[in-house]
Amino acid sequence: MNKNFTYYFIPAFILLYFVIAALPIVGILKGEFFPFFSFKLYSKIPNDFSAYDLLIYRGDGEEKFLLHQNSHLDALRRKGFKRQVNLLGSQFEKTNSLGSVDYSEFVSMGDSVFLVKLSGDYIQAVKHDDYQMTVLKKLK
């Protein structure tokens, strides 16, 4: 076999790929390093869950969550909103205040908006809509 560039590069790249993918697993990197998939993701069976969400009341009596059971959200907004709501929730639980996290976009979504934490068992939540909801803070 010719000892040219690909002879060394292909095995080296494959090795490098798995070394970099392993960095978040061993705790050297905080999160996943794109485009190196962190193979530990999705490796465990979910047990109980807790998730932050926003409960939005409108003047017409409509009550809905920003994320949960909201099938009108496209994938991009779901991801983006989830990230922002998680920031709000974790900030509030750490410091009991929302600090500098910007939530003005959410405030305009309804007449009353609450930051809530949903928790429970996934199966019960999906099958019977049975979960616990804790109101963390009224945003509006």
Binding site: I10, R83, V126
Partner: protein, 455 residues
């Protein structure tokens, strides 16, 4: 050391004395080119899907409206948000344009292949910059990256071999990814069981997985209600089978005759995931389909696997009782080989065993029939079977011979066969540091060995 490991990697493609990357070059390169053509075509279709609705990608107008949600990952951190619409439009249109160029000129210009990869890389970076990295296109994108290293000319044997090396590199990356994923899933079972949590062994494990995605996306999947209403160990078993398919992908890397069947199994796994748990990995299915299901290294119809591999293995097991004659070729000028002979002389040598130096005319004949062995620095075992000679090298050869003599090594040999790269790497690392002796000063083989020595 790195040089040795790289050598072991490429020499692991030698099966029965022949590397599957160096024979039938013209035919295999022709098949590879067709596969790459199709792959670039699928990339083009993917880039068109960016503008389609509905599609698995976020809608283009939704991206344009989402500047406020943009949380850039490192690769698109440089984008000036004040020119958001222009930047997004450039990224989307670049992906489309470069993919068109890729279909036409991928085999003519490395620059075009670089452009196709980069355009997809920036697109996936963009859509991964809203709080969650999008994994579904990773394998497709990484395959495009490795395709950059294809040679631009394809007429010489060396260039044809380069094609095959790149394709094999993609296959290795894909299979190792599945293996690693499977490995961590088994680790997850252990971790959760030790922590007293529900693991994949629990009868509602699949229902938990399903409801997690269902809850997160407010969607129902094809088998949602059936799985949710019927908690059973059968689902747990199905999960474990899926994990095993992923885990044993490492075994397939250097087994080209299994590429097709494993490609089919992995596609089946993704179909099962889509029907039950939800995530749609169709870009991954396409990559697995092109590079494994249609692997240029798999020979014959997919069903021929049952006559070539599985039956061959059972024949091999039976062969142990059949006592085919075999010759162990060793380097007469190598002290390590001589120590190996001294070690095996302590056992009762099988009657069908012969030993011969690689410095003999007999071995020159083997080399003439199997030129790929010339670069292999190892003990070589040639077993005479009815259908022809079967050749083993490195740790595979040593452990096979030892397994013939004592059952303790039979177990080790079985373990080695599951992931031969590890054993062969250790063999090569030891061999690379072994002591050579003067040809005129070779140790005299023990008496037991001298009885079975042939010239």
């Amino acid at each position: 050391m790195i040089g040795t490991l790289v050598k072991t990697f490429w020499q692991s493609t030698i099966i029965n004395g022949r590397s599957f990357l160096t024979h039938d070059l013209a035919e295999r390169q022709k098949r590879s080119k067709l596969l790459i053509h199709i792959f670039y075509f699928i990339t083009l279709v993917t880039s068109i899907q960016v503008f389609a609705s509905p599609s698995q990608f976020p809608e283009w107008n939704s991206i344009l409206d989402s500047a406020r949600l943009f949380a850039p990952i490192w690769s698109v951190g440089f984008l000036p948000v004040e020119y958001w619409e222009t930047c997004v439009q450039i990224i989307l249109l670049s992906f489309l344009t470069c993919s068109f160029l890729g279909v036409v000129w991928w085999d003519k210009s490395r620059l075009v292949r670089v452009a196709v990869f980069l355009s997809m890389f920036f697109y996936v970076s963009l859509i991964s910059s809203f709080g969650k990295i999008d994994h579904v296109t990773h394998m497709m994108m990484l395959s495009l990256f490795l395709l950059i290293f294809l040679p631009n000319e394809d007429q010489t044997d060396a260039a044809k071999a380069e094609y095959l090396k790149v394709i094999f590199g993609i296959q290795t990356l894909v299979l190792l990814s599945y293996f690693t994923s499977g490995f961590f899933k088994f680790y997850g079972i252990l971790d959760q069981e030790l922590a007293g949590l529900n693991s994949a062994l629990s009868p509602d494990s699949m229902a938990q997985n399903l409801s997690k995605t269902s809850f997160a996306h407010s969607k129902e999947y094809f088998f949602s209600s059936f799985v949710l209403d019927n908690s059973s160990f059968v689902f747990s078993l199905l999960l474990i089978v899926g994990y095993c398919v992923e885990l044993f992908s490492i075994y397939i890397i250097f087994k080209p005759q299994l590429h097709k069947i494993w490609g089919l199994l992995l596609i089946g796994l993704h179909a099962g995931i889509l029907l039950s748990v939800g995530p749609n990995f169709h870009f991954q299915i396409i990559t697995v389909g092109i590079f494994l299901l249609f692997s240029p290294f798999g020979e014959g119809h997919i069903t021929s696997i049952f006559s070539t591999s599985f039956l061959a293995n059972s024949k091999e097991s039976m062969g142990a009782k059949k006592k085919n004659e075999f010759i162990v070729y060793y380097d007469g000028e190598c002290l390590m080989c001589n120590r190996f002979l001294q070690f095996i002389s302590k056992f009762a040598l099988p009657s069908e065993m012969r030993i011969c130096k690689i410095q003999s005319d007999r071995f020159q004949q083997v080399l003439a029939d199997h030129p790929d062995l010339a670069a292999v620095d190892s003990i070589i075992v040639v077993e005479k079977r009815e259908e022809g000679a079967f050749i083993r090298i490195k740790a595979s050869a040593v452990l096979w011979v030892l397994a013939k003599m004592t059952k303790g090594y039979a177990l080790l040999n079985f373990g080695h066969r599951l992931a031969p790269y590890l054993g062969n790497s250790i063999y090569d690392l030891v061999a690379a540091n072994r002591t050579k002796t003067d040809p005129d000063n070779c140790p005299i083989p023990p008496e037991g060995i001298r009885k079975v020595l042939v010239n």
